[in-house]
């Protein structure tokens, strides 16, 4: 009896305060038990009508932010990301200045209206801190930082519409923006994701497929050097399967790379004609 009372007291004392805090917590992204859903129908088509190895429509536009030194919008299907690059410019925080290389900074954020649930996303939560870091380190790998010592390059990326694969879209947008800003790079970085659902490897997951709880492999490559710089994976996957999924994602990256190349070429041509060369 005494125990029971104790337990009740315990619940009473902690209960209400928790309910209060809970209300402010955002809904968990992953929806429960979608695992039984059919993601690839017998005809071999996915929910949005794509084939398993088909990418979503890509669209890119360069020079969308007039104030920035370089900027781009990148779309993968319904995922839309904007990136702006400032720099190389004077280092703001002198204590971070480096004498032999440029300082690269990156800030990733998600617009409040980017997802279905109208939640106010707290800035600087763990997820966006991590993605900021991942994008920064990925871009650092291709920027020739030692050519611009004592300076700073800022990359801002914002997700305008989130429909899966935001990380990849951000990296692709950042690459374009860096190229637009004329920052020296060894190679471009392109990224694409792939998953594994219903026993089929799927390229470029959308939101529904991404939130199914299956594996999600995001790959970023340097296409000319054919090297993997970014590799992230969640969930459980057999090693052999992982290899095929990674292979698929890499193929996706290469496709993105050829598209980005085209866009850059087009942009350069336009610049040429404007200058009247």
């Amino acid at each position: 009896m005494g125990l029971k009372c104790l337990a009740q007291h315990y619940l009473k004392s902690t209960g209400p305060s928790f309910i209060l805090t809970k209300k402010n917590k955002p809904l968990r992204r992953r929806t429960a038990s979608l695992s039984k859903m059919e993601f690839v129908n017998p005809e071999g088509l996915r929910l949005d009508g794509r084939r398993p190895m088909e990418m979503r429509q890509l669209r890119a536009e360069i020079g969308v932010v007039s104030k920035a030194d370089g900027s781009a919008v990148f779309e993968m299907g319904n995922t839309k990301v904007i990136a702006a690059v400032y720099g190389p410019r004077e280092v703001q925080n002198r204590s971070q200045q480096s004498n032999d290389e440029a300082l690269v900074r990156c800030e990733y954020s998600m617009a409040n209206f980017s997802t279905g649930d109208r939640m106010r996303k707290p800035k600087g939560d763990r997820r966006s801190t991590e993605i900021s870091m991942v994008i920064r380190q990925t871009m650092e790998a291709c920027i020739l930082t030692h050519l611009m010592p004592r300076s700073q390059i800022d990359i801002f990326v914002q997700v305008l519409q989130a429909d899966g694969g935001t990380r990849s879209a951000c990296i692709n947008a950042a690459t374009l923006a860096l190229a637009d800003a004329g920052i020296p790079m060894t190679d471009i970085v392109t990224s694409c994701s792939a998953g594994f659902l219903n026993g089929t490897p799927l390229l470029d997951l959308n939101y529904v497929e991404d939130s199914a709880g299956g594996p999600d492999v995001t790959v970023g490559i340097l296409p000319k050097l054919d090297k993997v710089t970014l590799l992230q994976m969640d969930s459980k996957l057999q090693m052999e399967t992982f290899e095929t999924v990674m292979q698929l994602a890499t193929e996706g990256c290469k496709a993105v790379a050829s598209y980005i190349r085209e866009v850059l070429l087009e942009n350069t041509k336009q610049l040429e004609s404007r200058r009247g060369v």
Binding site: L3, L11, K22, R28, R30, G213, D226, T229, Q247
Partner: protein
């Protein structure tokens, strides 16, 4: 002096160059080969769910706690798992006070993803009332010393702490059956978490122009490396998480090579963790027996004293019931002892003294009033008692029907036995049998 020179750890050009050139001949500054892991020691605190992992010079402490909370709205029947990291400025001058830095966030996320996304912990078993109360498990990871490769060490610390953690058992009660009754550990044995598999993080670093791969980078090597890759695998050959956050690009074949090496190391580390946890659990079980040191003490003392004069018999006669129960406990020691000898070196000296025959002798000499059948509660019967206890608890629905039937049969007998014992000892007995079960 300018602030930017303050208190940062500096590396010389010489060290940088040396690490790279030495690696060309497969040598590392601490004498290891490229794929040698550092010495791993796992220790446990006095409380359940606390661990301290030492990997070379790196030291990480893991601590698991739990609390009843409301579940997330979209997952009403699942408990929650949260990981918090603390990079204390004590461990490394580059760690700053206040908000967790990027590396702290990354570490937490990698450990979190490895555990959560691969469903290593059974969260559904943490549910008490769907939609109302679930257990929220919190893992705190404290970095005590940074000697490099914090991620692997922290991951091992988290796993070791989770494996030894036990939450208090709670059942539903009250008029509407919706009240949660918590049972303190003294009353009911706390329950361990259900861990399906152990996702082990193994970190590789890529150093130099040729991107030489090394495993388990030290503090120095981390300062030189161009990039790193953390692969989280379990012994079933599943890849649970991979993190290569930018940095030096590597060929796909190298990634696969890393994964293969990682799976070997993961098996290695899993073995070490399991062994350490096993040792801890046996010592914990032994400790539990020590909870009643008085009983063994008394019987021993009595035995010693009785030999010279049997006068004591009368005074101890009133305690006979007590003694009866206690004899079980010491007998239990006896059996545990046999099972454990050779396993652990730290053995309770008391129980070694309590020889079974001697005990019987002493009991026979003092327990004049107790009937014979009582004396003969053999371990076999005791086990049956355990079965009953467990089936009575009904918290665990696992016992099969046949066992239950058998238990029912013995039940009558057992009741008659336990009738003879004062009710207040029931509790004690239960404890003992529970301890057997765990």
């Amino acid at each position: 002096m300018e602030q930017r020179f303050a208190n940062s750890w500096r590396m010389t050009v010489n060290e940088k160059k040396f690490i790279e050139t030495a690696l060309l001949s497969d040598l590392r500054t601490d004498g290891r080969g490229p794929f040698d892991y550092r010495n791993l020691t796992i220790q446990f605190g006095s409380e359940d769910g606390s661990s301290e992992v030492q990997l070379g010079q790196t030291r990480v402490m893991g601590f698991v706690t739990s609390q009843l909370v409301q579940p997330y709205r979209d997952r009403p029947n699942e408990g929650t798992l949260a990981i918090f990291t603390e990079f204390s400025p004590m461990a490394d001058p580059s760690f700053e006070v206040g908000r967790p830095g990027e590396s702290a966030v990354e570490l937490g996320r990698i450990v979190d993803r490895g555990l959560r996304e691969s469903k290593a912990i059974d969260t559904e078993s943490l549910c008490v009332i769907a939609g109302k109360w679930v257990w929220s498990v919190r893992i705190d990871l404290h970095i005590l010393d940074n000697g490099g490769n914090l991620i692997d060490a922290a991951n091992i610390a988290a796993l070791a702490a989770l494996l030894t953690f036990r939450r208090p058992e709670c059942t539903l009660g009250g008029e509407d059956g919706q009240e949660v009754i918590m049972h303190p550990p003294e009353v009911r044995e706390p329950l361990p978490l259900i861990v399906h598999h152990l996702p082990i993080a193994v970190t590789f670093a890529f150093i130099g122009n040729q991107s030489i791969v090394i495993i388990d980078p030290s503090h120095l090597e981390e300062a030189v490396m161009g990039g790193k890759l953390t692969a989280t695998l379990n012994t079933n050959g599943d890849v649970c998480a991979i993190q290569k956050a930018g940095g030096e690009g590597v060929l796909q074949s190298v990634v696969m090579q890393c994964l293969r090496i990682a799976s070997v190391k993961a098996a290695d580390i899993t073995g070490k963790i399991k062994k350490a946890v096993e040792l801890y659990k046996t010592s914990r079980d032994l400790k539990k027996i020590k909870r009643h040191p008085d009983s063994v003490n008394i019987s021993n003392k009595l035995k010693d004293m009785e030999k010279p004069k049997l006068k004591l018999e009368k005074t101890s006669g009133s305690q006979s019931d007590d003694m009866e129960v206690e004899s079980h406990s010491s007998k239990k020691d006896e059996h545990k002892c046999k099972a454990v000898i050779g396993g652990t070196s730290s053995w309770d000296p008391y129980s070694k003294v309590a020889d079974a025959d001697e005990l019987k002798e002493s009991l026979a000499s003092q327990d004049v009033e107790t009937p014979d059948q009582k004396m003969d509660v053999t371990p076999h019967e005791k086990q049956q008692l355990n079965v009953i206890d467990e089936s009575l608890r009904d918290a665990d629905p696992s016992p099969s029907l046949s066992v239950a039937a058998e238990a029912g049969e013995v039940k009558n007998k057992a009741e008659s036995l336990s009738d003879a014992v004062k009710p207040k000892h029931k509790r004690k007995k239960k404890n003992l049998s529970n301890s057997d079960g765990s």
